[in-house]
């Protein structure tokens, strides 16, 4: 019997909940005995270290992990690999990526770029006068946060300076950044705050779809819901539905279920004949892909409609 582990950042984010469901289903299908672990909150390094140790102690053949801090976990991951486990980073790469045997991830920066490009194209010439609000995750500025934020800005055509720092840009089109904790309540409050700074905001980037839904409520309460572009990242089913209903203009869909099932397959292969998965050409990770979902496609950026998106969405 093959033992394997899945360690996610938290158990509260639907993205990871879905990833876990996908992995559990794939494991069952492959006859793998999967244990799942999670941190309590984003950034809970200690819980993840403990989880990896438990996996080593229980003799896991493979570990799938979404590192909550891409730099912090290196030593324990090295231990796990030394103990003979295949370690695959899901969703978030390690820094450097070769800490793990393989990385199956969304290119978060790319995801941001897509929605940035879409928003810029949608505005056309007006993009030069856009007023942009950025609704980020939290004060800690973890990698998904700055990658998506920076990707969006770059896609929109703004110089992002230090790519790992949020808010160091000096482009006058940026009205401001605020944090949302990735949920609706935070999204709404942050949107309200930024509207107070400049009521003319017409482009809103959001870290994820719940934050976008919250931002939309704030816009709706001041009657601005129809003339502001809201873009987001994730591709959860409620988010895609929101694209269909015009709440979100466009979102970049990622594929947690695919990451999970690919991960399980890789562990099975490793356990059976010792082969390791290869990275996508030109990248230091295996790109599980991003798709832009929008019902208002623009030329030059391939996208799916929300109806098609609903068939691929993850939760």
């Amino acid at each position: 019997e093959i033992n394997a582990c899945l360690i996610t950042k938290t158990d509260t984010n639907p993205f990871f909940v879905k990833m876990k469901e996908g992995a559990t289903a794939a494991a069952e299908a492959n006859g793998i005995n999967l244990s799942t672990y999670a941190g309590k909150i984003d950034g809970d390094v200690e819980s993840q270290v403990a989880a990896v140790e438990t996996c080593i102690a229980s003799g896991a053949k493979g570990i799938l992990i979404t590192p909550t801090d891409s730099r912090a976990l290196t030593p324990v991951i090295t231990q796990a690999r030394d103990a003979g486990a295949l370690v695959i980073a899901l969703d978030t790469p390690f820094e450097p990526a070769n800490v793990a045997d393989a990385t199956f991830a969304t290119d978060n920066f790319k995801a941001g770029v897509l929605i940035g490009q879409w928003a810029a194209a949608k505005l056309g010439d007006e993009a030069a006068n856009a007023k942009i609000a950025l609704l980020d995750l939290n004060a800690s500025e973890i990698s998904v946060d700055y990658l998506r934020d920076g990707g969006f800005l770059q896609g929109f055509g703004i110089d992002i300076k230090d790519p790992t720092d949020i808010g160091d840009e000096d482009d006058p089109r940026i009205v401001g950044h605020d944090v949302t904790n990735g949920n609706e309540e935070g999204g709404r409050t942050a949107m309200e705050n930024l509207l107070q700074i400049d009521p003319g905001i017409n482009v809103v980037y959001t870290i994820n779809e719940p934050a976008a839904a919250g931002a939309y409520e704030a816009l709706r309460s001041v009657g601005r819901e129809d003339d502001v572009l809201v873009v987001s990242v994730d591709g959860g089913c409620p988010g895609v539905q929101n694209v269909g209903e015009g709440v979100i203009g466009a979102t970049s869909m990622q594929f947690p279920l695919r990451m999970a099932s690919l991960g399980i397959d890789a562990i099975k292969a490793w356990a059976e004949n010792g082969t390791k998965p290869a990275n996508t050409e030109g990248l230091d990770f295996f790109n599980t892909g991003v798709e832009l979902i929008t019902d208002a496609p623009v030329d030059g950026i391939p996208s799916l409609s929300s109806a098609d998106g609903l068939k691929k969405c993850w939760g």
Binding site: N13, V17, E184, E185, P210, G214, E217, R220, N242
Partner: protein, 360 residues
């Protein structure tokens, strides 16, 4: 018996002179020397003034820093909206802190009840008013669980609610599957859940029903605490539990009622939060417990119980709201906002302590 010769008909011999003793009530002239100590005295006798003054000062300060926009009726009403949910939690928290307890589970109860209401009304098709009532009942049950553990098992409130916080949080994730219920689905299935999101405008200000609800909750609780016997008992329990018990207060019953009422207020806040946020999200208000405690202590309610007015918590919540809004408008980083709130807590309570010092 000759030995008792020292005793007259009325006690010991030397007590005979008491007939002639003075019977006036003592009176002394009152003088307060410096202006500062006079101010201190006035505030000491009206402790709710303190948070009010801090509030006014912070309003003025941010008005200067962040400019006129800050003072617009719209922005001020927005602060009220943003504060409304934490304000209601602070009302619940005040009740408990007045009994010398602390409730780390208020936000967990609130979110759990909003998830229950949403699941029932949106996913299971239960009529909204009924779902809401079930949520209220759930809030009271959660409060009763806290209250019974505290009174019957005699656990300290901090520990009890540290435990139930985990429990309610786990239940919340389990029931919701960590998924939000979308705003649009609520609009379709159970718009009544969003009742408190409705608003009206007066002179540029946008007042939601949720804001009104918050004020109503505070006024009602203030009345109960100050004008009824139950309220006096709550204060007495917070002041000295053993003395309250011995002097004839049904402390256990009162305490359980306090926790149930707090649970109910949380459930009401849960309903109101649906109107405020638009959707129902199991992830929101994770820091709500600490935020509510912050509001309460900034409002001058003693963590040792028995002292302070619940209205202070309202002002405390407003002060935090004004700070956050003002700092954002002034373009301060989130990082430094956290920093500033830390100092706000310390300074606001330090001022409060200085006022109280008069009697120490």
């Amino acid at each position: 018996m000759s030995e008792t010769s020292g005793m007259g008909s009325k006690g010991q011999h030397y007590e005979q002179v008491l007939e002639g003793s003075d019977t006036r009530v003592a009176q002394f002239e009152v003088r307060n020397t410096t202006l500062l100590s006079r101010v201190q005295h006035i505030l000491h006798n009206n402790p709710t003034f303190v948070p009010v003054i801090v509030l006014v000062i912070s309003l003025l300060a941010f008005g200067l820093i962040a400019g006129g926009r800050f003072f617009s009726a719209f922005n001020l009403s927005l602060i009220l909206q943003q504060v409304s949910i934490i304000g209601m939690l602070a009302a619940a928290q005040s009740l408990i802190i007045l009994t010398a307890g602390i409730d780390l589970s208020v936000a967990a109860i609130m979110v759990l009840m909003s998830v229950i209401m949403g699941n029932l009304a949106v996913n299971l098709g239960v009529p909204s008013p009924f779902a809401i009532l079930l949520g209220f009942a759930g809030g009271m049950a959660a409060g009763a669980m806290n209250g019974l553990l505290i009174t019957k098992v005699k656990l300290p409130p901090f520990i009890t609610t540290l435990g139930t916080w985990s429990i309610f949080f786990a239940l919340n994730l389990w029931l919701s599957g960590a998924q939000s219920i979308r705003s649009q689905d609520i609009d379709d299935q159970a718009p009544f859940l969003k009742f408190f999101g409705n608003a009206f405008n007066i002179g540029g200000a946008r007042i939601t029903f949720g804001v009104i609800l918050m004020v109503v909750i505070f006024v009602a609780l203030w009345y109960m605490l100050n004008k009824t016997a139950w309220g006096r008992h709550v204060y007495a329990i917070g002041d000295d539990m053993e003395a309250a018990e011995l002097s004839g207060i049904r402390t256990e019953r009162t305490l359980v009622s306090v926790y149930m009422l707090a649970g109910l207020v949380c459930a009401i806040a849960g309903w109101a939060s649906i109107g405020r946020v638009g959707s129902i999200s199991p992830q929101s208000f994770y820091e709500g417990n600490l935020q509510s405690i912050t509001a309460v202590v900034i409002g001058g309610i003693s963590l040792f119980g028995g002292r302070g007015s619940i209205l202070g918590a309202l002002f405390g919540a407003l002060i935090v709201g004004v700070f956050q809004s003002g700092l954002r408008m002034a373009g301060v980083d989130v990082l430094w906002q956290v920093f500033a709130i830390g100092w706000l807590i310390i300074i606001a309570v330090a001022i409060d302590q200085w006022i109280r010092r008069v009697s120490a």
